[in-house]
């Protein structure tokens, strides 16, 4: 099981600070069980009940009583908000051009306020012929489809893999309790999927909505695929929304999976996500997480290198401005011998924003011949902006190559002068230097079309 090592993750001593904050979700659950969730299979009904019970017991995390994992991020504003489930009626007027990947062929599933938008979802033309009636976009056994349909269909895959590595943190529990839709992606053994798989979660901001997107990815033996998950807000002066996403990934022997995330929710949005990945023998996960916006953002990315030869590359970019708060927790669990991880997270913080990076790396006693590199670099561009950067290395094996480093700096004045002396204004110089700073992360995206899309997103943001 991947997750935060027990004892660290959830202190049982953490008690709800205010009954009403949780009770809103409890009564919402009672209503949901009666209608929305009433036709769930029994295993899922049981999971939902266990999850809501976990949530009731643990409550929202607080920074109190040594709850290390939440000491930099205060979720009280989120807990105090009253969000409703969406009825799914908001997606009529979406101009999709802004979200389109610049490539002709793409597997695309779009969700608006948590509800599947069939009119915005597509599949590569050549595969239409293979379309299976009920289970989304299928070709040669490939599944890129709605999770809700897979659950409806009682697809054994779902029960087999669902919620096996998530743990019982408050937010993941809420997601499991309220899970309605999202994606099931299954790449059969030996299959290379050439088109990007694009999962887009749009929040309209027309009402105060909470969504619980759930994505389950199973990458078969020696398969190759690329997934991008986008989180967008339709309007920027929106009603605050709460996106509570959970992604579960399992890669089997020799699988290569590129997993990209682009988060650009509104300045008043709450974005909480956790991603849990278990990486098989000689399999590789390349994760790139771009958090360009959002009001209160917390991402947990947990990767278990479960079998010999498993490797992961983790790249991240977070941008804070205004009053925003963006918190990235990563956890790499070197569980088996000859595993390697290489992590580079970069932050740019302006205004009165606050960034948090906590990078935990555990090398277990069995994990000999492990290579683990971690780097967190931050550019703090204003006096009020802040960053807390904390590496947490726990190494229990001896034949290990480990490095880690964290830097916090401003723009280098000598570099700005160097560019000035070639005719560039200070503003142009700063822009080029910041672009240079982020390019290492952006270049970790190897798919050309996605790279073009994400480069544009980041450059637009940095102007």
């Amino acid at each position: 099981m991947t997750g935060w090592p027990s004892g660290r993750a959830h202190s049982n001593s953490t008690m709800p600070q205010n009954d009403s904050q949780e009770s809103h979700y409890l009564s919402m659950f009672a209503a949901f069980e009666k209608n929305g969730a009433s036709d769930s299979p029994d295993w899922l009904k049981t999971l939902r009940r266990e999850a809501i019970a976990d949530f009731e017991r643990n409550g929202f995390p607080t920074a109190r009583r040594g709850n290390e994992l939440w000491k930099y991020t205060d979720v009280r504003p989120l807990a105090n908000h009253v969000f409703a489930r969406s009825d799914g009626s908001n997606h009529e007027q979406i101009d999709f051009a802004a979200y389109k990947l610049p490539c002709p062929r793409v597997h695309q599933l779009v969700f608006v306020d948590g509800h599947y938008a069939a009119d915005l979802s597509t599949e590569p033309p050549s595969q239409s012929a293979h379309r299976a009636e009920t289970i989304g976009h299928r070709s040669e056994g490939l599944i890129v489809g709605r999770l809700s349909e897979a659950i409806q269909e009682r697809l054994p895959l779902v029960e087999q893999y669902f919620n096996k590595q998530v743990g019982s943190s408050a937010f993941a529990s809420l997601n499991t309790a309220f899970v309605e839709d999202g994606a099931l992606i299954y790449i059969p053994d030996g299959v290379s999927v050439h088109e990007p798989i694009y999962l887009l979660f749009i929040t309209t901001g027309r009402s105060q909505v909470v969504t619980h997107p759930r994505v389950l990815v199973i990458a078969g033996v020696n398969s190759k695929s690329t997934i991008i998950q986008g989180y967008e807000s339709l309007i920027t002066d929106a009603k605050p929304g709460f996106t509570n996403a959970v992604t579960e990934i399992v890669t089997h022997s020799g699988a290569v999976l590129n997993h990209y995330k682009l988060q650009r929710e509104a300045a008043n949005a709450y974005h909480i996500s956790s991603t849990h990945a278990t990486i098989g023998r000689d399999s590789h996960l390349a994760s790139v997480a771009l958090d360009l916006d959002g009001g209160l953002v917390r991402n947990d990315l947990c990767v278990k290198l479960a079998e010999p030869g498993a490797s992961v590359k983790l790249d991240g970019l977070y941008i804070g401005e205004g009053e925003r708060h963006v918190d990235n927790h990563t956890f790499v669990d070197h569980f088996a011998p000859r595993t390697s991880s290489n992590e580079v997270y970069k932050g740019i913080l302006t205004g009165a924003s606050r960034g948090v990076f906590v990078g935990q790396v555990m090398v277990r006693p069995e994990a000999q011949q492990t290579i683990a590199h971690q780097l967190n670099k931050n550019m703090v561009l204003s006096d009020e902006a802040e960053i807390d950067s904390q590496p947490m290395l726990e190494i229990f094996a001896d034949d290990v190559q480990c490095t880690h480093g964290a830097t916090v700096g401003r723009l280098d004045a000598t570099a700005v002068f160097y560019l000035n002396s070639r005719g560039l204004s200070t503003q142009e110089a700063q822009q080029l230097l910041i672009q240079g700073f982020v390019s290492e992360v952006l270049s970790a995206i190897v798919d050309d079309a996605i790279r073009q899309y994400t480069d544009d997103a980041v450059l637009t943001k940095l102007v």
């Binding site: 280098d412 002396s421 070639r422 200070t426």
Partner: protein, 250 residues
């Protein structure tokens, strides 16, 4: 072209330049020599407008215009160029993107044509060829992982692209082996025209056997203590700087 009168400048509150006066005409090459820490780089940086240095007295005029209030990019756009003693590494910023942005800023300020990436690529290749530099270096991040010699050649490439009127070359010879020195010097000579002026900052007389100076100035403790022809550099090479210091003190 360049008229410096009684220039005083400080860095971090310490006075480094203590009254420098210097005149350089178009078509001329002037060498500034002096021991380590005498203020050579400070002088070069102050002319180029590095905000880390503060001018406390005196004036710098370029083609009759007071540079004192001009930002460094304004000076660059008017034709002042500084080749850095220690060129800056900028990870993630491609050399050709960087210098095209600089080139276009300069052109824009002069209301001349800017170049798109394709046209600029042609220009930079041609310039790289002129100065005998491997053009593939221009596709790499600015100076990142460049050898000492490659960094210096990269400065000359930027100069070749921007075609400045006043070329301030701060220790262009340091870190170069004999062959590289000969080749870089040849490029500097080749790019020289009667409309341009060159200020060569150097430690060693050796550079001056490749690039003929019209005048040599010795900077010590923030002042020019001697000026003369090429033979002055020769004398320094043989006798060192101490005799000048003693003469100055006396």
């Amino acid at each position: 072209m360049l008229d410096i009168i009684d220039l005083h400048a400080e860095v971090a509150g310490v006075e480094i330049l203590k009254g420098v006066t210097l005149h350089v005409d178009a078509g001329e090459v002037h060498a500034i020599m002096g021991p380590n820490g005498s203020g050579k780089s400070t002088l070069a940086n102050v002319i180029a407008g590095n905000p880390a240095y503060r001018v406390t007295a005196g004036t710098i005029e370029f083609e009759g215009e007071d540079l004192g209030t001009l930002a460094p990019e304004e000076r660059a756009r008017r034709g002042v160029f500084l080749s850095f003693q220690h060129p800056i590494e900028i990870p993630g910023l491609r050399m050709d993107h960087f210098i095209r942005a600089g080139y276009n800023s300069v052109m824009k300020s002069r209301e001349e044509d800017q170049l798109d990436p394709l046209k600029f690529d042609r220009l930079i290749r041609a310039k790289a060829k002129v100065i005998d530099m491997d053009a593939t270096l221009t596709k790499r991040a600015v100076n990142e992982g460049f050898s000492g010699g490659e960094k210096k050649r990269n400065e000359i490439l930027q100069m070749a692209v921007l075609e400045p009127k006043l070329r301030i070359l701060d220790e262009i010879d340091s870190g170069l082996d004999v062959d590289a020195l000969r080749s870089v010097s040849a490029s500097i000579n080749e790019l020289m025209t009667p409309e341009k002026a060159t200020l060569l900052v150097t430690h060693y007389e050796r550079l001056l056997t490749y690039i003929q100076p019209n005048q040599v100035h010795i900077l010590m403790d923030g002042r020019i203590v001697a000026s003369g022809g090429k033979e002055l550099a020769r004398e320094i090479e043989i006798k060192g700087y101490d005799w000048l210091a003693e003469r100055q003190g006396a």
